[in-house]
Symmetry: C2
Subunit: 205 residues, 2 copies
DNA sequence: CGATAAGCGGACCGCCTGGTCAACTTGTTA
DNA sequence: TAACAAGTTGACCAGGCGGTCCGCTTATCG
């Protein structure tokens, strides 16, 4: 069902170099990183990039799929943690940690890259909803925030930090802590607007 | 000291159309909006754009200067409000409100556009620091957050909302409320990282 | 080893971008 | 109204982009 013939050894090596270089380049320069630069960084020709991935978006999708996959795994593993509040915080920490480089908006902006990305993202959103529901039932977060809220806020710590030049690598933890405090029930003020009704919601949930 | 000759009537009109079109276009498409599109939207020729502003960055700077100016005015007016906590919240509301369209990162990314932008931005940051200091002294926000923190978090509500397609125009208020709750002293957990030491800090303050 | 196809790479293409320019139009003023 | 400077414009340019292609290299395997 998958490829009948395995990659040639050098091709496999180049593919790894390419993915690593692309991840770095996207992380540093954002989505506008040029294919030529990525190829140069990987030490391969530009043509080789397009042999491995038909378009630049396909290359990006491959990286994004990887990240979403990893994050979903973390989330699902945390679903039966003892303390649901800690579990949610840990999940958000993992999410921000894997994105600690420049804000890529990996999970959000890359929405329409491919069917696979969409599918995996939906699955990840589903996991977040369950983590949030558990935390809410446990009284660890306020009653009026939803999974969609958390999904939207998930990227904020990285985004915030991206503005400060030469930021210490763990600065995002500070803003995650502030935002998470805003999600806690203690001292919560009523929210002025309803949550977005469908964003990030698994269909029918 | 300023221009000896006033603009011709049609030129002034075009300038206004241009600035309005550019603001809209930047708001909708972000910083990548093309000069040609802006000109088309304004109903003028592309050459005319460059007669009014030598470069695309100059055009952007003109808009940014305007926004920063307006925001600083709001902030300074709020400096002697009765309730410093409310004043800070109101300032953040004004900041998010003026940026309620697509996330432009006006204040942050546009850092090096011109000397004037840098100067005005520094002045605005100074105002924020004073608002935050007052709010903290008044016990309205937690002791461990700084002006730099608030400056960084200022854009987060807009950024967060920018991910949801067809968001209700006031949705950002919801996330501003959550983040502001995270800034309050009630139920605050200690922050894991020190604040950025210099970002947004007026020199020597 | 020798044959073969998988893999490689850089010249090349079309497109779009920010920016220039010289011919043309028009508001202003005496 | 006449004359001139201020303003307008779209064709044009160089540069960079994603993507293609074909002659060359090289890993693989009988």
């Amino acid at each position: 069902m998958t490829q009948p013939r395995p990659l040639r050894a050098d091709a496999a090596r180049n593919r790894r170099l390419l993915l690593a270089a692309a991840a770095d380049e996207f992380a540093e320069r954002g989505l506008d990183a040029s294919v030529a630069d990525i190829a140069r960084r990987a030490g391969i020709g530009k043509g080789t990039v397009f042999r491995h991935f038909a378009t630049k978006d396909d290359l990006l999708a491959a990286i994004v799929v990887d990240r979403i996959q990893a994050l979903t795994d973390v989330g699902e593993r945390l679903l039966d943690a003892a303390d649901p509040g800690d579990a949610l915080l840990e999940f958000l920490t993992a999410a921000a940690h894997q994105r600690q480089q420049r804000d890529l908006s990996f999970l959000q902006e890359a929405g329409d890259l491919s069917e696979e990305v969409t599918r995996l993202r939906t699955r990840m959103f589903h996991t977040v909803h369950r983590l949030v529901d558990r935390a809410r039932e446990h009284g660890a977060i306020r009653a009026d925030v939803t999974g969609a809220d958390v999904i939207l806020l998930m990227c904020a710590p990285n985004h915030v930090v991206s503005y400060v030049p030469d930021a210490p690598p763990d600065l995002w933890r500070r803003y995650l802590a502030i935002i998470f405090d805003g999600l806690r029930p203690q001292g919560a003020h009523p929210l002025p607007q309803p949550p977005p009704d469908s964003y990030g919601d698994p269909v029918g949930s």
